[in-house]
Symmetry: C2
Amino acid sequence: MTDEDDFAEDRYGVPPMLQSQARLDRVLVRVQDLTAEKAGQLLWVRARIHTSRAKGKQCFLVLRQQQFNVQALVAVGDRASKQMVKFAANITKESIVDVEGVVRKVEQKIESCTQQDVELHIERIFVVSQAEPRLPLQLEDAVRPEGEGDEEGRATVNQDTRLDNRVIDLRTTTSQAIFRLQSGVCQLFRDTLTSKGFVEIQTPKIISAASEGGANVFTVSYFKTSAYLAQSPQLYKQMCICADFDKVFCVGPVFRAEDSNTHRHLTEFVGLDIEMTFNYHYHEVVESIADTMVQIFKGLRDRYEFQTEIQTVNKQYPSEPFKFLEPTLRLEYWEAVAMLRQAGVEMGDEDDLSTPNEKLLGRLVKEKYDTDFYVLDKYPLAVRPFYTMPDPSNPKYSNSYDMFMRGEEILSGAQRVHDAELLTERALHHNIDLEKIKAYIDSFRFGAPPHAGGGIGLERVTMLYLGLHNVRQTSMFPRDPKRLTP
Amino acid sequence: MTDEDDFAEDRYGVPPMLQSQARLDRVLVRVQDLTAEKAGQLLWVRARIHTSRAKGKQCFLVLRQQQFNVQALVAVGDRASKQMVKFAANITKESIVDVEGVVRKVEQKIESCTQQDVELHIERIFVVSQAEPRLPLQLEDAVRPEGEGDEEGRATVNQDTRLDNRVIDLRTTTSQAIFRLQSGVCQLFRDTLTSKGFVEIQTPKIISAASEGGANVFTVSYFKTSAYLAQSPQLYKQMCICADFDKVFCVGPVFRAEDSNTHRHLTEFVGLDIEMTFNYHYHEVVESIADTMVQIFKGLRDRYEFQTEIQTVNKQYPSEPFKFLEPTLRLEYWEAVAMLRQAGVEMGDEDDLSTPNEKLLGRLVKEKYDTDFYVLDKYPLAVRPFYTMPDPSNPKYSNSYDMFMRGEEILSGAQRVHDAELLTERALHHNIDLEKIKAYIDSFRFGAPPHAGGGIGLERVTMLYLGLHNVRQTSMFPRDPKRLTP
């Protein structure tokens, strides 16, 4: 058979690279919009080849667009030649194609696709971008629940392979859902605070002195001198409070040069930070932050698009729905210590909580109060940073708090010392070089309102809300002591 | 006179530092809410002492809360003793006080205050936080228009003094207005894109290889190796496009180790970044980004709170209202070159625009089209980064564009090369070490959709919208080659 024999030769092929040669006014229909109502219509779709299976004179394709997919068919006939079917069958998986086809209702639901009621009968097919034939990982493997892989001897994909090939791993329905939900967490955080009268601020990440004492800080070459990467916006959000901004928040990267290779530590993560003045008691702030978290949880629970995403993630990583109370449960540190002791843990009144004890406490609190979210208040002064306000009645304790989701810390906060003299005294007590934090301390010398705040780890919130087990699953391009790429 | 003689001794003083000793249920009224309707009411206010003037048995105070202020009075009488008036008169400026007083209508408007119809007759006054007596700068001086200072021999405050004492400089009405407006720019940017179906992403700032060739990049010590600070989220937002996120944006710091000491360069600034796929022509993206800018301009123009802020800034820094067209004007590079030549500038077809020529072009465009915002399209390929898509019909040009506000560039963008082979070729042409950008190039090997985007400098948008003249005015804590503090 020669080329002349192919009546369909204009109906398929690999056109030149799309370089904006012309502005076609062709409408591209979204895969998610391919429903029974469109039956009989001839339309164009751009999508990836998700799977491809040739069968005699036909080729079945599954076309994918983000989390949505539809079955399509090229069959030898009026509109497609043998050559065209062969061409379609040879297009590599993950390639992007433009297809024109007729939407047809199907008699039996297509269980394996999101668009179950229709299939697309392809009349033209052009390759927009060709994928290399060998994929470093298979999307089907990457969404397989771990247990299922083990039991049936099917492949799953380990974390390093995923992260090494993140561009492909992020295409899975699970990844798409995780990061669309995370985008929602940021949006809910900001919308809630904006409606409470907060102002968004931008704080510098390159700083001249390590604000929190000098440990665990990354050094940057800065022209002829050196500088540091901010471990938090702490200093700057407090300076904004001293500068009369009253209620501020910021969303941005924070950097920790900690050599911790755990499921919940990253060297760079996204901080959702809050700082606000209060009138007479820092609990005004605790309640405002806790309510902000509750508004996030409610937004995720009640908006349709997030529900879909939660269900998608649950298919691969099953978890219990996230529970919270309104108003939020607030326990004091001594109560937590008492609960842990009753459960057999030996610890002193002023000891910090270890990670296993935090998790145990989370289980005990869940049993007793039926909540996955609570505030632990009044930490021992000794385990908190120097700028933490001491408790007015018991100098062993402090006006500080953590917030927990499913037994893991997601926020650390406190009333801050707003008096330059006490701040100096506390810094000296912590052996901090006063010269290095002079600009910080001086901020409090010209009238500083009482204030409190906290910093939330975005990746932890997403991880724990979804019941995932590694913070690398909720960081698009995670950074840890061993990983700097991609 | 001894203490016993003071009948008012419980009505004033310096209480112990506010450490959340008790949760008073005292309502604090906002200064902006002190209006004639509240006349006759006894109420509490927390505010700063803005100015203070003792006059015989009276002391006049101006109490300030952010941009709002009100006159207050302590006078010897039933409720205030001589000692109390003296105490009030001695409170240092910028101290924060709690006062209880009766709101009284005034007969003549108080022109110097925002609350012009009332004054507060103080019956109790307590210091919450005392300011040191010597302020490094005076707020009145810091808001004085530059011309006025010169003419009348009154003080103004130079930029370094402002920035060295930023916590006080940020308290001025002008600074409050600038940064509240900037918070609005971010919000309008995100709300517009969210409503267009964009997903917010978070990209890493610590990267293993200098993505854009290696110049002007800060080096970070990273455990036993070294890394770089991202000069833009370019690589990562494109990887998200290859990972099917379709339309993404991010807001975050970008770092440039450029030794430029100009009015518009910072070594760290906030990037508002956009990347999106398109169907057939990158102008789809240009129009979407230009419309996003227009939505920001309209939001700033039409929302009441932003109008107030623009007027406040204009009092110190007068400027013409910002003009824009709908749809946005788009000129091609050759047209700009022709306009400049007609105005007497000598330049070649493929020369880049110098800063003075950009500004001149801005004036010519304003004269001809009456707009402060326009798109300049089709830049010469030679002056753009290696990942820029060449023009399909003329290899000297490219599918790239800048956007301008009041004659200065605020956005640079392009259709990107989405083909790994062409990208390799272009990188080699730019003498870029392929090994260092391997992960980037590999992202395009498994099917990559045509896409385009751009990066906007937040501080420049705020500066140029308000007609300010230095980007340090719109960065809370600016970083340049000579400034790393506060």
